[in-house]
């Protein structure tokens, strides 16, 4: 610990602070009079930048998409598409963003004849805009993807358009891919990406953004986080803000003190040990996705699969694993996957005597009741540890996850499920995990079924025998997304689908 009880350095001796600014399209914007909990979208509008649109304020339509300059896992700079309606200004202070107005230099100057950015030109040519209200968001999603080298459906699945039916936008994306295959992008944006970050991401020291009513802290080390929590009993932790951002965006509740985890380097790392993968709680999901693809291909198919169906690009660029767990939602998508993989949490807190402590908790013991968790005040999730390897004695692991929503893409689950079956050479099951979301007050395992499966052969007969038990395993509720009956059916059918697909997979 760097400081003791008496020092309270943050409250009484504020660190010398550089002026609070935001670099928008290369211009420095002064944030001094701006509340740190104002959303970036509202800030842009208030400062006269109305190109970025609001379609929902919920993170669901993408009309508000902007590109934020971020440092990728490999240390290189990237533009990332994010929903500005869910980002409090405090989270982007001292950062660099590009909005739709920034793509054509002459347009920002009020002229109307400057050359369009290739992304814009492609959209004009294919008829990618009709009413045009969604268009700035699409432009920014395409823009970020353009410099990432892959302009495809995934880049725009978080953008809703009610007019075009997406086909001309997809044509624009295809045309861009062709252009990029012929000549890699080379312009002032690629130039910018090749320079070192003007504001290192994450920055080296604590950023404190004290508004007239609200305070926003971006500490860089875990002890700072703990100490801030200790000093401000009314503080709320914020990671990606994709859950909390809804309340901020709609000003549903006040947030006098927000302590952000996004600059804490220790929370943004992924480690592999002999026996486990440890994912920092504040690693954005898109980063977990690319890590898993490159470093752990095929190791956690159920995690990879679920991340594909988790929200959309803009949200995955912000949302974190820690947030998905800590929020304690019964319909969070990653808890079932992590439960099926026997993940454990490392939790850090500050003890009575201001001594930091760490505890380890199986995820299965974390969820206590509807939106209630084992997390104590002034604690935070540090990392999630997922064991590597399969059950000793087993020869093969079958593992997959499923998510069913009214809409395949970017929807909240009606039911999410994740399964693990380890079988030994004889074909008998030596380890079974069936975890579900959306069927109980908490993400839950069907423990009785898991036991019943032990020692059985992994075959059609076993699955048929287990189905009636599984049907009775949960008593879900009916809601706007689906009836209790449908949920119950899915609990059973998804397991059978899993069986059929693993067997088909074997046959192929």
């Amino acid at each position: 610990m760097e400081f003791t009880k008496k020092e309270k350095p943050l409250k009484e001796k504020p660190l010398p602070q550089q002026p609070l600014t935001l670099l928008v399209n290369g211009q420095t914007a002064d944030l001094t009079a701006v509340s740190p909990t104002m959303t970036l979208l509202h800030y842009l509008h208030h400062s006269g930048r109305t190109g970025t649109k609001e379609g929902c304020g919920d993170g669901d339509c993408g009309a508000c998409t902007v590109a934020v300059l971020c440092t990728g896992a490999d240390g290189t700079l990237r533009y990332q598409a994010m929903n500005s309606c869910l980002i409090p200004v405090g989270a982007v202070a001292q950062r660099e963003i590009v909005t739709v107005e920034g793509l054509t230099e002459s347009f920002t100057a009020g002229l109307t004849d400057g050359p369009l950015h290739p992304v814009q030109a492609a959209m004009v040519k294919t008829g990618g805009s009709q009413c045009g209200y969604c268009t700035p968001g699409f432009i920014m999603s395409l823009f970020a993807a353009y410099y990432d080298g892959s302009v495809d459906d995934i880049a725009i699945e978080g953008n809703l358009c009610r007019c075009t039916g997406y086909l001309p936008i997809r044509r624009a994306a295809t045309a861009l891919m062709q252009e990029m295959a012929e000549a890699k992008p080379c312009d002032r944006f690629t130039q910018r990406l090749s320079l070192p970050s003007a504001s290192p991401d994450p920055p080296p020291s604590l950023l404190q953004y004290l508004g007239p009513q609200e305070q926003f802290y971006r500490p860089t080390q875990i002890p700072q986080v703990l100490s801030l929590l200790q000093q401000h009993p009314n503080a709320t932790l914020i990671a990606g803000g994709t859950d909390l951002g809804l309340d901020i965006s709609h000003q549903r509740r006040p947030f006098p003190v927000l302590v952000s985890l996004e600059d804490v380097a220790e929370l943004r790392q992924i480690h592999q040990t002999e026996t486990a993968v440890e994912i920092g709680a504040a690693v954005p999901l898109s980063q977990i996705q690319s890590y898993s693809q490159t470093e752990l291909p095929g190791v956690f198919p159920s995690l990879d699969e679920m991340l594909v169906w988790f929200a959309a690009t803009q949200v995955r660029n912000r949302a974190t694993l820690g947030g998905n767990i800590a929020t304690g939602s019964p319909i969070g998508d990653l808890p079932p996957v992590l439960l099926s993989l026997d993940a454990t949490l490392k939790i850090t807190g500050m003890g009575d005597r201001l001594a930091p402590y760490r505890r380890t908790l199986p995820l299965a013991d974390f969820f206590k009741g509807y939106r209630q968790t084992d997390l104590q005040p002034q604690e935070l999730i540090e990392l999630v540890s997922i064991p590597l390897g399969i059950t000793p004695g087993a020869v093969r692991r079958y593992s997959q996850s499923y998510k069913i929503g009214k809409r395949g893409t970017d929807d909240i689950s009606i039911v999410a499920a994740a399964f693990v079956i380890d079988v030994e050479a004889s074909g008998r099951i030596v380890h079974a995990r069936l975890a579900y979301g959306g069927v109980a007050a908490i993400p839950a395992r069907a423990i009785a079924i898991e036991s019943a499966l032990m020692g059985q052969l992994w075959n059609f007969t076993t699955v048929q025998q287990i189905k009636p038990l599984l049907l009775a395993a949960f008593t879900p509720l009916s809601d706007l997304r689906g009836s209790a009956r449908y949920r119950q059916k899915l609990v059973v059918n998804l397991f059978e689908k899993f069986f059929v697909e693993t067997i088909e997979g074997l046959e192929n």
């Binding site: 379609g55 369009l116 814009q120 004009v124 268009t135 699945e157 039916g165």
Partner: protein, 777 residues
């Protein structure tokens, strides 16, 4: 870049650069105020008291608007006066705005609204069509359209079936929510900027609530961020609220609903209940239909009567039904007042007849596409005449149908799918082909008129005004093309002006797919008037250097030049002609006007020629359905659609694709859910799901019908906004084919709409249950 070219949207560059200005993004005038509603927590309740004192005490709260502040008429009903702007006695739907707080900022207005205390006595609400039928809660008397003797014919039919279909409602989900600005000039006039499809009606309603004549109010629509019918009448109340606030405070006032407010306050596509009895031959020829259509009107009438009428006029879709009676009813329920939405009742009527076609086909073990085809309107006279007595003069059904089958390679794919289904127990594919015939014109005859105003300035630059509004459909683009072609000048000469009631008065809504048909003719008319004035000027100028006199009739205007037909090499520029016209004191501005000819409608008899012509299309969709979860994937779509001689293929294709996807959303995922208390539970995109790019198949082919010029319509084109919406019925029918494949042949497939995964799984279970019955028999 004139008629027939793929000119990009006139605002495309503005869209992609973010510089296109929408209503709420104009530079705000000083002291602009915002408003925020106080909404009802009950679907139906008596208002006992309203206490605004705590709100008024808040800093930032300017005032709270109540019924007492309405200087004119406290009503915004568009057909009848049944829509209280500020309810005084009862609230009639959950989330209804009761009073509005006015604040210096939106947050201040909202905080004030939260301090208003309204006490209520809850009353029993009517929340469904079934409940309305049970309690006889209707807005109007039933309407009937009848041909022949349906009951008699039913009794003598070889086969008879009866059934029922609940057609789901749909939220417009335009990306730009309802927005209005009202700026008082301090001299008793009001400038309104509204995101409205119907500036004239918005003007009428604002004048009405303020107690002013219409010339005191100007309504301007810059452009809309989508509308789809949702801003035809629904924009009016919000403009009216802002106007009352502006009247009371003397300040400019803005209103922009947030998404949640927009979804809870505004009307939607009408949910319908269709009940039918149908008689048919053993070959699947329909002989008689007796149907009841119940539209969920919601709490006020709004546009429900014409919506219902269009449903009744489209219950035939493409099919000749010798004996047909359709009764229409408008249920009065305690929900938002349902309204216009792309297709305007047509889709609901057509979904019912497609349900019937499928019902007949499966009960006879016949392929659905065969039953559909053999019931088409055909020949001449009676077999080619609708139940309301309009002969289908230019019947293109057989053409679009045959071309769609060819384009989609229908027969071969159907066989391949049957093979696939035999070997895949857990996943089934389905292929379906459905037709669309859609009548073009407003049913209300007097709406079928339009005006335009063209101003040429002495430097040769031109302003183009017309009565239509731009909501993304490309109307302005097409009007520029029409004007440039007719006047014989380059398109960049024009500046298209915002739609404004001080330029073209007494306009009709931009709706019913009629925008370019009506306004195009008016623009053309204005251009022709100007050309007639310019031709003598050009003739004189050209005549100066010509050996013989040049007559005005010989002048050709093309591409910014004028020349004599007999001597195209001697040209003078358009600028020269304009400069000369100015000095010769020739008027350089002109209005244009158009009314659609030959329309008749007798509402009592239910007969007439309500449509100028019909638009046709056919679509083939293929899906794969997962038997475990009921989820489906759209695999391929092939469309043949008739847009006449396309004014702009880029724009028309965009309309077809966009409409299809919107229709697919309606039929498969867009589910509005109300709870038992009548509270809408799906008022945000987190709970109300419209399609994303990932639901769109890679294989999506649109073919515009060729050799398709439509006589009597602007440059041979055809209306395109609404008709393709109903092509999406092919997705629903393809899903049904796939579900049927889970059971034995001839299994009936009761499928709810929307066909959500849950509805599909329920249907799969139903066909599997039937198959078990077959096995045990």
């Amino acid at each position: 870049m004139s008629i027939g070219s793929r000119k990009p949207h006139e605002s495309a560059v503005g869209h992609v650069t973010g510089s296109a200005v929408y209503t709420d993004e104009q530079r705000r005038p000083a002291q602009m105020l915002s408003v925020y509603p106080v909404t009802a927590p009950y679907a139906h309740a008596r208002i006992l008291s309203i206490d605004i004192s705590a709100a008024l005490a808040l800093p930032g709260c300017v005032t709270v608007l109540t019924a007492a502040d309405v200087p004119g008429c406290n009503n915004t009903g568009v057909i009848v006066n049944d829509e209280m702007l500020f309810p005084t006695e009862t609230v009639s739907h959950w989330g209804q705005a009761v009073v509005w707080a006015v604040g210096t900022t939106e947050l201040a207005a909202r905080q004030a609204a939260e301090k208003v205390v309204v006490s209520y006595e809850p009353l029993e609400p009517v929340l469904t069509i079934e409940a309305a039928i049970a309690t006889q809660s209707f807005h109007t008397c039933p309407q009937t359209i009848c041909r022949g003797e349906p009951q008699l014919a039913l009794r003598s039919a070889a086969h008879q079936l009866s059934g029922e279909l609940a057609v789901n409602p749909q939220d417009h989900f335009y990306l730009e929510t309802q927005t209005s600005w009202v700026i008082p000039d301090g001299e008793g006039h009001y400038q309104v900027y509204s995101s409205t499809q119907h500036p004239t009606e918005t003007q009428t309603i604002v004048a009405q609530v303020l107690g002013l004549s219409r010339n005191q109010v100007v309504v301007t629509c810059l452009r809309m961020g989508g509308a789809f019918g949702g801003k035809e009448s629904q924009a009016n109340p919000y403009a009216a609220i802002a106007a009352i606030a502006a009247h009371k405070t003397g300040c400019p006032v803005r209103i922009k609903l947030n998404r949640e407010q927009d979804m809870t306050l505004t009307g939607k596509r009408h949910g319908f209940l269709g009940r039918y009895e149908v008689g048919f031959t053993a070959e699947g020829k329909i002989t008689a239909l007796d149907a009841d259509l119940y539209a969920d009107g919601g709490w006020s009438l709004d546009l429900s009567p014409p919506v219902l009428l269009r449903a009744m006029l489209h219950i035939d879709n493409a099919y000749y039904i010798p004996h047909l009676a359709v009764q229409g009813h408008i249920a009065r329920t305690h929900k938002v007042s349902n309204t216009a939405f792309r297709g305007f009742g047509g889709p609901q009527g057509m979904l019912v007849i497609e349900e019937i076609m499928d019902h007949m086909a499966r009960s006879l073990h016949l392929p659905p596409e065969q039953v559909r085809e053999q019931n088409f309107y055909h020949g001449t006279g009676e077999t080619n005449t609708t139940h309301y007595g309009q002969e289908i003069v230019d019947n293109r059904l057989a053409r679009v149908w045959a071309e769609a089958q060819t384009q989609a390679n229908f027969a071969a794919r159907k066989a391949a799918i049957a093979q696939f289904n035999r070997t895949h127990p857990y996943q089934k594919r389905g292929l379906a082909l459905t037709p669309v015939k859609f009548g073009i014109s407003f049913n209300k005859v007097c709406y079928n008129q339009a005006g335009a105003l063209i101003l040429i300035y002495a430097d040769g630059s031109i302003q183009l005004n017309h009565g239509g509004t731009e909501m993304g459909q490309g109307l302005h683009t097409k009007m520029l093309q029409v004007a440039a072609t007719t006047l014989g000048v380059k398109i960049h000469r024009f500046r298209i002006m915002h739609t404004s009631t001080d330029k073209v008065p007494n306009t009709s809504a931009t709706a019913a797919s009629s925008g370019s048909d009506l306004n195009g003719q008016a623009v053309k008319d204005a251009c022709q008037t100007l050309q007639a004035r310019l031709a003598p000027v050009a003739a004189t100028l050209l005549g100066l250097n010509a050996p013989t006199e040049i007559l005005p009739e010989e002048i050709v205007f093309a591409d910014d030049w004028a020349y004599c037909r007999n001597n195209p090499d001697a040209q003078i520029s358009f600028e020269q002609v304009i400069a000369a016209a100015y000095t010769s004191r020739i008027s350089l501005s002109a209005t244009g006007y158009y009314r659609t000819p030959n329309l008749t409608w007798d509402p009592v008899a239910g007969k007439g020629q309500p449509f100028y012509y019909f638009a046709y299309g056919a679509a083939v969709s293929e899906v794969a359905v997962d038997g475990f979860t009921g989820t489906f994937q759209l695999r391929q779509v092939d469309i043949v659609h008739d847009v006449g001689e396309s004014l702009n293929p880029l724009v028309d294709r965009g309309q077809i694709e966009g409409a299809f996807v919107q229709g697919m959303g309606w039929l498969t995922m867009e589910e509005l859910v109300w709870d038992e208390a009548g509270r809408l539970r799906t008022f945000a995109p987190s709970t109300y799901k419209i399609p994303t790019v990932s639901e769109i198949p890679e294989n999506f082919e649109v073919h515009l019908l060729t050799r398709a010029a439509q006589e009597g319509v602007i440059y041979g084109s055809k209306a395109v906004g609404e008709p393709p919406f109903m092509l999406a019925m092919s997705v629903r029918e393809a899903i049904r084919e796939a579900i049927a494949a889970f059971g034995p042949p001839g299994t009936l497939v009761p499928l709810q709409s929307p066909a959500t995964p849950e509805a599909i799984l329920t249907a799969i279970e139903a066909v599997q249950a039937q198959s078990r019955c077959y096995e045990t028999v």
